[in-house]
Subunit: 269 residues, 2 copies
């Protein structure tokens, strides 16, 4: 029998993915308990863990949710995983992308297929369209500018979000993450050149060249609250490249707050 | 007689430049009073203003200090400046770089030479060297990463500062400016992967391709206070490309706070 294993991280994605699957096995990296029941595993014992997946008939694996880099305990390695230590250490000292690619490679070398969220639960990854509200021409220009900034920054393996208002970049996502960036934008709304003009757009996109099977950026009801607190006009994102959690609740909150939600086609403005 | 005119902006640069000159004429854009006595002029009457400079025997002009984009009053234009309106409007709607280039062009078309701070007061633009403290190897790697990020972002006409700690980009300068970026970094010091490891570096550089005669980034005593509040190891900047205000006070404060100050050679690490 063919089964799917979910590597559950923190945040709301793992429950949404699990709900879309038929009886998956659920695991989580030890120390990063997800909001769902999950069997813990340790990176120091990765090879025995992969063997166990195979024994359970798993052939597909899906990574769902945020995981921070674990601290490794040198005593905890089993002999076979220990042989991977040079690769693991190199990866952990690289950017996020390189670290993830290494993990995916090791899974695949054990005969497992990594699936993206869009393959398992396409409803979670909206295609192009406006979900609520109506971006103005100014908003569309701000979204286009933000998209250009993020696509340009991709080689740097930095964040996946930006805030642009009236053509000016008000905030860029860095290590502290999206909520911190929107909090920053909220502190500096007074800098818009025209106080009565366009309020600005929070834009989100995967890194160019990013492996889309893992770590697609996520937005959800909290993003709406944070964007509203920053007094923005709406949220736009690269259609097909961003996971939308709890669509109904997200749209409801955006409508209540007067924000638009726009899955923006990559080539459009 | 050949004279120099200083277009004084806000911040500490104008007083430092004026102190280095012999009897300069000092002007300031109306509405942006600098911390020195200055004759105001309006962008709407730019051409008569340039004529006045020529009449006073001015042949060199130096821009010193920050100016935000002025709001224009359509009623206030004189007929000759009105002919420049299309260029002025285009420039004001472009990035900072394009706006500045247009202003410089108009000055030069009137026969005035724009001088950089490094030509007038070379002491204000430190060449490569460590002014206090000692960056560790980790600090040097963090500075190198920050330099790479900023050089890569230059085409986007964004900020001129970054904070990198343990290889991770903790903050990028955007429209709200340096102090806001360092305040952001101060809020998120807890995200360094190794709490006892390298604290991180605040790095500053001109935009690649920027006209170095105007708007070089500036650091000074306040930068030290802000970097210390963000619990950083030190401040590094592109040697020859950043203005250091009040060197004595800046070095004293850095020494007292245990921060290094490093004018980093562009090619070095």
């Amino acid at each position: 029998m063919s089964r799917t294993a979910v590597i559950a991280g923190q945040g709301g994605l793992a429950p949404a993915v699990i709900a879309a699957l038929d009886d998956p096995l659920v695991y989580a990296l030890d120390g990063f308990a997800p909001p769902v029941p999950a069997t813990p595993f340790r990176l120091e014992r990765l090879v025995p863990f992969l063997d166990r997946l195979i024994e359970h008939g798993v052939d597909r694996v899906i990574f769902a949710g945020a995981v921070r880099r674990p601290r490794l305990d040198p005593e905890a390695f089993d002999p076979r995983t220990a042989q991977l230590v040079p690769r693991i250490l190199t990866a952990l000292q690289s950017g996020d992308d390189a670290a993830l690619r290494m993990v995916l490679d090791i899974f695949e070398e054990h005969g497992l297929t990594i699936c993206g969220v869009d393959q398992i639960a396409p409803d979670l990854v909206p295609e192009a369209g406006i979900l609520t509200g109506a971006p103005t021409d100014s908003d569309r220009r701000d979204a286009a500018r933000a998209a250009r900034i993020l696509s340009h920054m991709g080689d740097l393996d930095l964040g996946q979000g930006a805030v642009v208002a009236q053509g000016l970049c008000m905030a860029l996502e860095t290590q502290p993450g999206t909520a911190a960036m929107l909090d920053f934008a909220a502190r500096h709304t007074g800098l818009r050149p025209d106080p009565t003009g366009a309020k600005g757009v929070f834009y989100k996109a995967p890194k160019p060249g990013q492996d889309r099977r893992v770590d697609l950026p996520t937005i959800g009801p909290d993003s709406v609250d944070q964007a509203a607190a920053a007094d923005l006009a709406g949220i736009a994102w690269q259609a097909g490249g961003v996971i939308l959690l709890d669509r109904q609740q997200t749209v409801q909150r955006a409508r209540a707050a007067g924000l638009f939600l726009w899955a923006r086609p990559q080539e459009g403005i």
